[in-house]
Symmetry: C2
Subunit: 420 residues, 2 copies
């Protein structure tokens, strides 16, 4: 496939998100307004929101989660942007990334100069068993679901295949979750922004308060390896290997390259965009790599004219810990089968040679599925502009990458951003 | 809002659709394959389908209708187009039109030369009361639905407002349905492709066969005015005022303007595209016009540089008969309040001065909601190329228009096509 250039460049000049978490009584429109307002406040030089010409809203299934289809014009209405064209973009958990890509294409088309890209999901209103059923609609209803798979099961199959092929032990998955909680603890927007050490201490205190025997865990890994503290969901994946059920919204402002500095002195340029599709998991040559991710990454790198080694900040789709390890290989940061060793050696930690998911990732930050792909962009925005606070990476990072997966890789969207 | 030009032109070079109807045992993927194959066959000069670079799939809610989200990559897979990017576009019943617009923007962006736009919906697997509930998710779940509205009720409110404001009698709505069945009878793809006269005769025969008294209807209007033959659904709308519940798919091939004649000697050029959003119906200044439709039409006419009087072939969104009348006014074919008179005087019939919905419209052809907007394009394709068979309009029509509505007008998408 030839990778052509966009007919004009696109810049990111504003970004905001709601807190991710469980917010009873708030609908996705409330959360979107919160994200929109933070996005407005992030545009240093200010602008009239009425200049926004179109909206692309990533959302997986407000139909099932909120009994609300046709969400895009509602979002436009709630932020005062009626009658601008508003379109919902859906590619399961990659809906946010796909919406960003539509925003980029829309500006490159010449039709719009200023576009709002949003991501929304409100998952916690449903009883948890219906959440599982709803998420299962992102798998193939004729092939994957009738085989008895839920999403933890599908990713557990990938995890066992990875263990068999490369000799990784289940411990290493836990280290991904541990690391992402270390990062998320520094992210005020994170749903589960506690370090594992703090969670462990809280469990001890809670036992003491109830007069129960106080568990003696030698360290955080012992805690994570304890079935009572961290029960198995689908072996080898435990609770702290799985991203949570979340509510949340995120919004970013895209403009044509030539307008960027009217909005901010520190715009980010969208220099690479790749998206690829795939069949369901039963029909793949491998379980230890996502062909769609490799393809999307290849497209994005080629468009951007950069290599994996050039990237400074990376947000990948860690819906499950195994997914993060596979992502780091698919994106070319580590050789196939070496991703787990990199985790074990601390290379992907914030202080390591290849930090992954400084935001806390989906695991700690939360995973409101349609919002997650846009939420990843917020972290790139902050890190590349030096605004990530306590979790800021050193060395003035210049290039950032987002990797957003739908289903078990039926969709993958990769974007590359540059601060110039 | 400034209407800018697309950075390059886009042409329609292939079009196909499945039959619309109720097809037990067939899923939306089967119907999409059927539409795709007819699209391939329609490309006179042939091409390798592997040249297609991306897919945009309009779909309202396979989540609720088929327990299947994340449909776009499945469609790519089933027509052999994995790993090409595949994205679902949702704007309720305007999903097909919105998908077409994304396809147009995607080509104009310079990133793709050849794009497939599809529309799919499989509605008849659900029990009918769940279909009504599912369609209701296209209304506002916080405002319209709790007020007790279903879609027939919402459009009935528009109908009564129209009657009050302009003096139309309910009879005139029935004439829209009558006319669309006259057209649909000439469309082999129509779900209810019978003339009202034929339906009336069939009812008489059925009564005779059952030994029941044979009803004596003076003519088709007497039949349509008989509560037993044509029961009231939501006054003043009766059964034959409402589009049916349908399964179906449609697919069109878009290419960059410069490539068009590699595919066909009779391409159509997408010269106008407009889309607009709106809040829910409780928050509108009027019930007798859709502000989003007027806005979308204005955008499309302006981009195309044509006036309503220039258009030769028109497909409008007649989800209910009142919607067709309002559409013909919003699009500027008739003055506000004159649309009903035009119907009464036969102006919108196939032989009239302003034919509307020569395909049979959603009423007779069927309304598989996510497919309908793309299905409209199939009729324009056939009419402008002189391939509409018995329902072909005379005079070598050159300009065609589609008008696709989501909800009660929270979205409207208008496209204008030209044969050169």
């Amino acid at each position: 496939m030839t990778i052509r250039k966009l007919s004009r460049g696109v810049a990111l000049v504003g970004a905001g998100m709601s807190k991710f978490g469980a917010f009873p009584g708030q609908s996705s429109r409330d959360l979107f307004v919160e994200a929109f307002q933070e996005m407005l406040a992030s545009v240093e030089k200010g602008f009239d929101p009425k200049e926004i010409e179109a909206l692309f809203i990533g959302n997986f299934s407000s139909d099932l989660f909120e009994n609300q289809g046709h969400t895009a014009p509602i979002m436009a209405d709630w932020v005062g942007l009626t009658p601008r064209p508003a379109t919902r973009i859906e590619d399961a958990c990659a809906s946010g990334g796909a919406a960003l890509r539509q925003g980029v294409l829309a500006i490159a088309s010449g039709l719009y100069d200023i576009v709002l890209v949003g991501g929304i999901e409100k998952m916690t209103d449903l009883p948890i068993e219906r959440v599982t059923d709803t998420l299962a609609t992102a798998a193939d209803a004729l092939y994957e679901v009738p085989a008895g798979f839920t999403f933890p099961g599908l990713y557990a199959a990938m995890a066992t295949a990875y263990m068999a092929e490369y000799g990784a032990a289940p411990d290493v998955f836990l280290k991904v979750g541990y690391k992402n909680h270390e990062n998320g603890a520094l992210n005020p927007k994170a749903q589960f922004g506690q370090r594992i050490a703090d969670i462990m201490e809280a469990r001890k205190k809670s036992a003491a308060k109830k007069g129960l025997p106080i568990p003696e865990w030698a360290d955080e890994m012992a805690f994570l390896n304890d079935e009572r503290a961290n029960p198995t969901i689908a072996w080898p994946l435990r609770l702290y290997d799985c991203s949570p059920v979340s509510d949340g919204a995120a919004a970013v402002l895209l403009v044509s390259e030539d307008l960027a500095r009217r909005f901010t002195d520190t715009p980010l340029y969208v220099i690479g965009s790749g998206q690829a599709s795939d069949g369901a998991i039963h029909d793949r040559p491998t379980l230890t790599s996502l062909p769609s991710a490799k393809k999307a990454a290849e497209m994005a790198y080629q468009m951007a004219g950069v290599k994996p080694a050039d990237i400074d900040v990376v947000e990948v789709h860690d819906c499950f810990t195994i997914a993060e390890i596979i992502a780091t290989e698919d994106l070319g940061f580590f050789e196939p089968g070496q991703g787990w060793r990199a985790v074990a050696e601390g290379k992907t930690a914030r202080g390591g040679e290849r930090p992954i998911n400084t935001s806390g990732g989906l695991k700690s930050k939360g995973h409101p599925v349609g919002a997650s792909g846009v939420g990843q962009v917020i972290e790139i925005w902050k890190q590349l502009r030096g605004e990530a606070g306590e979790r800021q990476l050193p060395g003035n990072p210049r290039l950032g990458l987002t990797h957003n997966v739908g289903g078990t890789g039926q969709t993958c969207v990769v974007h590359i951003f540059e601060r110039r």
